[in-house]
């Protein structure tokens, strides 16, 4: 396979990156490349340029930070994160394979392109099948909805964990930096993907609010193999306790929709309650009722929906410890 003949540009800092991005030809930002280059080799939505973020100084970060350029391997082994926000390195360790994690970046995982088996295929396959809305055709093969909405599945593992921590994303563009809540960042459309990011903006880093350290967070991932596989469903839960009762709760999912999302309804069930099995079951059941997985991953939607309950329960149980 080959990457189509793109031009590679390698800016050294944010200003240069934004400047380069404003040139005429179409482009994609290139992080670690472990997802994008696969799609490029399959001729999926190829642009004329790749603007690499690898050398952009402001994205590199250091131990303890959540800069977009940090590799998942670095996050996995970050002692400061392990100490204070262990769910983040734990979730990082669950992504793909150890080799992918050496190159893959936090930014790349947070901005991971949505996935669907009608879409993530070779160019020849798509031609035979008739391609789809997200690539070369006009129709969604999964769930034709009015308004050309794409139901490709968001499959990043880190996003739900950061949503539970209440993260904010720092974006840099023509007009400088702005900060958005991760919870408002994603758009429920597998093509549009972001409500709150322009194509030419760069995700610089995620930051956590001051109270993040008070959350006990756990992430449970459903996948067939213990490596390589994207989530078929993922549930992150966060709990704060006071006097033996749940003071605050958050539940977020990934791989159940085109976006990672918070589920306030099921989370609310936990608030003011002791973390006992009947309460846990109630919340988990409520989550299961809410999720609507699409028929576009390896496992069936029915099974993934059932598993939402199990993932949620197990995540809550491990928070309680």
């Amino acid at each position: 396979m080959q990457v189509p003949d793109v031009q590679l540009q390698q800016p050294k800092n944010l200003d240069e990156a934004i400047q380069v991005s404003s040139e005429n030809n179409s482009f994609d930002w290139l992080g670690g490349g472990t997802d994008l280059l696969c799609n490029y080799k399959w001729g999926i939505n190829v642009k004329e340029r790749l603007i690499s973020l690898r050398q952009v100084a402001e994205l590199q970060g250091e131990t303890g930070t959540l800069h977009a350029g940090r590799t998942l391997y670095d996050l996995e082994h970050d002692p400061v994160l392990q100490e204070n926000f262990p769910a983040i390195p734990n979730a990082a360790a669950l992504v793909a394979s150890p080799l992918i994690r050496r190159s893959a970046t936090l930014g790349g995982n947070l901005l991971l392109d949505t996935r669907c088996w009608h879409f993530n295929q070779t160019v020849e396959w798509r031609r035979a099948h008739g391609s789809c809305l997200k690539a070369e055709a006009d129709v969604c093969r999964v769930l034709p909805l009015p308004g050309d909405v794409c139901v490709a599945t968001f499959s990043g593992d880190l996003a739900p964990v950061l949503l539970v921590y209440g993260a904010q994303f720092h974006l840099f563009g023509n007009t400088g930096t702005r900060v958005v809540d991760a919870a408002n960042f994603y758009a429920e459309d597998g093509i549009r993907r972001f409500t709150n990011k322009k194509a030419e903006e760069i995700l610089v880093q995620a930051s956590l609010p001051n109270d993040a350290i008070q959350w006990q967070v756990s992430y449970q991932k459903l996948r067939l193999r213990d490596t390589f596989d994207f989530p078929e469903g993922g549930v992150a839960v966060g709990l704060q306790f006071e006097s033996g009762l749940v003071k605050a709760a958050r539940i977020a999912t990934t791989a159940y929709a085109s976006i990672p999302m918070l589920h306030p309804g099921p989370a609310e069930i936990l608030v003011g309650q002791p973390l006992q099995s009947d309460v846990i079951d109630q919340a988990a059941n409520a989550l299961m009722k809410e999720v609507r997985p699409m028929k576009n991953t390896s496992m069936s939607p029915a099974y993934r929906k059932k598993m939402a309950r199990v993932l949620c329960r197990r995540a809550l149980e491990s928070c309680g410890n």
């Binding site: 099948h129 067939l224 213990d226 390896s298």
Partner: protein
């Protein structure tokens, strides 16, 4: 030390190990030739259609385009196929294109980028034809079967019916009858090295074809047929091959395409498949629907077996006729079965062809049988080990369907696995959710009957020794990673009584090496190993004669001594070194050459299909799997597999263990996670190693290979197969373990979490109904 030190049973590193660990070994993609072009395939975008027109005009204008190949051009419509009885393949559609992704045309360009672009620019016009996608649809009569010679105007490729003994009366009087009905998804070999070849036209008009193949000889034959040239004008060369498992054991359309393009353009043509193309080439394990009925008496003796298999062959015949037989004929071993009935049907469908895959036909049948045996055992309150031991085929017997059994270490396999797994402490005694299960197996050491009816020996090995003392071995046995080169060196050096490192094996080139049928059906150690031993013995005879000449003692009194010497049987102080004996033997003779051949003995009955399943010897297995089932998610966690395999004699412990370990890993993949999925339109949905799920290091349990050696009377130094038999048993072992753990009998393979969960939910419902 005054005795010859045999290498048998020791641990021998592969003779080509250094190449492999330094990366200097040459595989097909590593090869380059001057003026070489890259060819890319144009592939069908529909499941079934007649190719009406192929338009190269846009491609022809593109940079680097040199030539193309379209249906209708000379050679593209010539039929070939690995089995002479079902040569139904053509290089390109003639004019029928049989599956989505089939090769329809090809382009050759100066470099790979150009070839990819050009292939995408070729336009193909089809006449749409209705696809046959489900086996049950292929059973129906049709005006337009997919191939010329099908059964009764249907799309049945092969139908087999066999009956031995009195089946119905046996069922009528049986104390226990168990019926199983199971379905199996298609499986792909998943070798890490993609398929590829390079066809090189030689200046003298010959054609050399380099290919990652298990069967250089069959490729050689097919090329000659398709190109319509005598075989001596073609040379086949096999470089290092990165795994085969039956997925590189046919001559393929793309090899014909490369040859035809090479002839047409006059330039070397390289074709290397992308991973998705490897999946589209397939020739993997047939999706199967298998019904089995088994009868036993009140004491647990097996009385009869009645089985019916429907296997989905996809677009072409491949080895399918054999697969159809193997689904039945090998099912009853290693047990005594007084009455056997088998009906097997293989159908053509508009999907990638299925063929021979490790365990070939015996795997899916084995699952049914081993689960049925467990059910019978349970109904009689017998231990699964005990009932199997009770029904074990003894050595030196013939089965009801005329398979000649010589050596069998089955009882020892059972004993060793039972002990190693601590079965008696665990069976039916582990906490709920944890279970242990037994699965056994039986497999051929090569087919006794060659697929081409000639009198040529199935394996021939040549040995040449000259004044440098090194031993040159020529064979066309294809080393695909199983270590056959090492085995040949071991057999020859063992026979001669010299160090293995004197041997250099040349098993790559049909111009220089004598014929061997190739690496499939687990025939190589048995057949090429025997041939190698004979060649070595012939050389030894010459060296012994030289010893006699040098010492004046009788030739027949010399035996192999220690440290590369030959000594007098009665007086080991009379000793001649190998080099001295060699020098003497070379005098006035020149280089020593010798040949060893192997042809399987005449076996079996004289009924139709009697050749299928016949083998000069059979391996057997007893495997135990210990599992933990997560009842909430349906995930099966295999904790450990104990795998006792009767290999006759472990010539090289390391490689024998390696084959068992690899087979178990592959079997576990089929058991748990691997499946080829198709869209409703017949397109292969998951042609990638992300979506086709092969077990990684962290998904694979501990595997303990246990070697049993029953010392086969006809095997080379007692050895028999160890390459395929060790796959099948692990799948039912897991299923039986799941039953022990949570009381459900799974009938769909792979036993994915979803399928397990469904079965658990069904069980809950049934238990709720029963108690209400």
């Amino acid at each position: 030390m005054s005795k010859f030190q045999s290498s048998v049973g020791t641990r021998i590193p592969l003779v080509d190990g250094p190449e492999k660990v330094t990366g200097s070994g040459v595989y097909i993609e590593d090869m380059k030739f001057p003026g070489m072009l890259y060819a890319r395939m144009v592939r069908a975008t529909l499941s079934h259609g007649n190719v009406q027109a192929v338009d190269f005009s846009a491609a022809e204008k593109m940079d680097g385009y040199i030539g193309g190949l379209a249906p209708g051009e000379p050679g593209t419509g010539n039929r070939f196929g690995v089995l002479p009885i079902s040569e139904d393949e053509t290089a390109l559609p003639a004019p029928r294109s049989l599956y989505s992704g089939a090769i329809v045309a090809a382009v050759a360009c100066e470099n790979e980028r150009q070839a990819r672009a050009a292939a995408l620019a070729v336009k193909v016009k089809y006449e749409d034809l209705p696809p046959i996608l489900r086996p049950k649809d292929a059973l129906k009569k049709t005006d337009d079967p997919l191939h010329d010679r099908t059964v009764g105007g249907t799309n049945i490729h092969k139908s087999v019916e066999q009956e031995f003994g009195d089946v119905d009366p046996a069922f009528a009087k049986a104390a226990k009858v168990v019926e199983t009905e199971c379905t199996f998804d298609g499986i792909n070999h998943g070798f890490t090295e993609p398929i590829g070849c390079i066809a090189v036209p030689e200046p003298n008009g010959r054609l050399s074809v380099y290919s990652a193949t298990q069967v250089p000889h069959y490729l050689h034959r097919a090329l000659a047929k398709v190109l319509e040239v005598p075989m001596h004008r073609i040379r086949v060369y096999k470089p290092l091959v990165g795994g085969g498992f039956g997925g590189k054991s046919d001559p393929f359309p793309h090899e014909m395409v490369a040859a035809l393009l090479a002839r047409k353009t006059g330039r070397p043509i390289k074709i290397i498949f992308d991973r998705d193309e490897v999946f589209l080439n397939n020739h993997g394990r047939h999706p199967t629907q298998y019904k089995l009925k088994m009868a036993a008496d009140a004491e647990g003796n097996f009385l009869a077996l009645d089985s019916d298999s429907l296997i989905d062959g996809g677009a072409w015949g491949s080895f399918g006729v054999v697969t159809t037989y193997y689904n039945g004929v090998l099912a009853q071993g290693p047990y005594r079965m007084p009455a056997i009935r088998y009906r097997g049907r293989r159908v053509y469908t508009n999907k990638p062809a299925c063929g021979a895959m490790r365990g070939h036909g015996a795997v899916n049948a084995r699952f049914n049988l081993e689960c049925a045996v467990d059910e019978i055992a349970e109904s009689l309150d017998m231990d699964p080990f005990d009932i199997r031991a009770q029904n074990a085929l003894p050595p030196n017997t013939t089965t009801r369907n005329h398979l000649r059994i010589t050596s069998t270490g089955f009882l020892e396999c059972l004993e060793k696995t039972r002990l190693a797994s601590r079965w008696d402490e665990k069976f039916r005694k582990l906490p709920k959710g944890r279970g242990i299960g037994l699965g056994c197996g039986f497999y051929i050491s090569g087919s006794a009957l060659p697929i081409h009816r000639t009198r040529t020996p199935q394996s021939t090995v040549h040995v040449k020794i000259d004044m440098d003392g090194g031993v040159t071995i020529h064979s066309m046995a294809a080393d695909i990673g199983q270590g056959s080169d090492t085995m040949l060196a071991q057999c020859v050096s063992e026979a001669m009584g010299v160090q293995m490192d004197r041997c250099r094996v040349f098993a790559k080139d049909t111009d220089t090496a004598p014929l061997d049928l190739g690496s499939y059906s687990s025939r190589v150690t048995f057949m090429a190993g025997n041939a190698a031993l004979r060649a070595g013995e012939a050389i030894l005879a010459k060296l012994k004669r030289a010893c006699g000449q040098l010492t004046g003692h009788p030739t027949s009194e010399f035996i192999r001594g220690p440290k590369e010497t030959y000594v007098l049987r009665s007086d080991s102080s009379v000793s001649v070194s190998y080099m001295d004996a060699l020098t003497e033997a070379l005098a006035d003779n020149g280089a020593l050459v010798a040949k060893g051949i192997y042809r399987a003995p005449k076996l079996g009955g004289s009924f139709k299909g009697s050749g299928a399943g016949l083998s000069p010897s059979y391996s057997c297995q007893a495997f135990v799997a210990e599992v933990e089932v997560d009842e909430e998610t349906g995930f099966i966690q295999v904790e450990k597999v104990w795998a006792a395999h009767d290999c006759g004699m472990a010539l090289n412990r390391t490689t024998v263990e390696g084959q068992i370990e690899g087979s178990v890993h592959m079997g576990l993949g089929q058991a748990l996670s691997e499946q080829m999925l198709f869209t409703s339109g017949g397109q292969l949905q998951n042609p990638s190693l992300l979506d086709y799920k092969i077990l990684s290091t962290v998904d694979t349990p501990e595997i303990e290979a246990i070697l049993v050696e029953s010392n086969d009377p006809e095997g080379p130094l007692g050895a028999k197969e160890c390459g395929e038999g060790a796959l099948a048993p692990v799948i039912p072992a897991v299923a039986n373990a799941v039953y022990d753990a949570v009381g459900i009998r799974l009938t769909e393979v792979p036993m994915t979490p979803e399928r397990v969960l469904k079965a658990l939910e069904k069980q809950k419902k049934e238990m709720a109904l029963a108690s209400s």
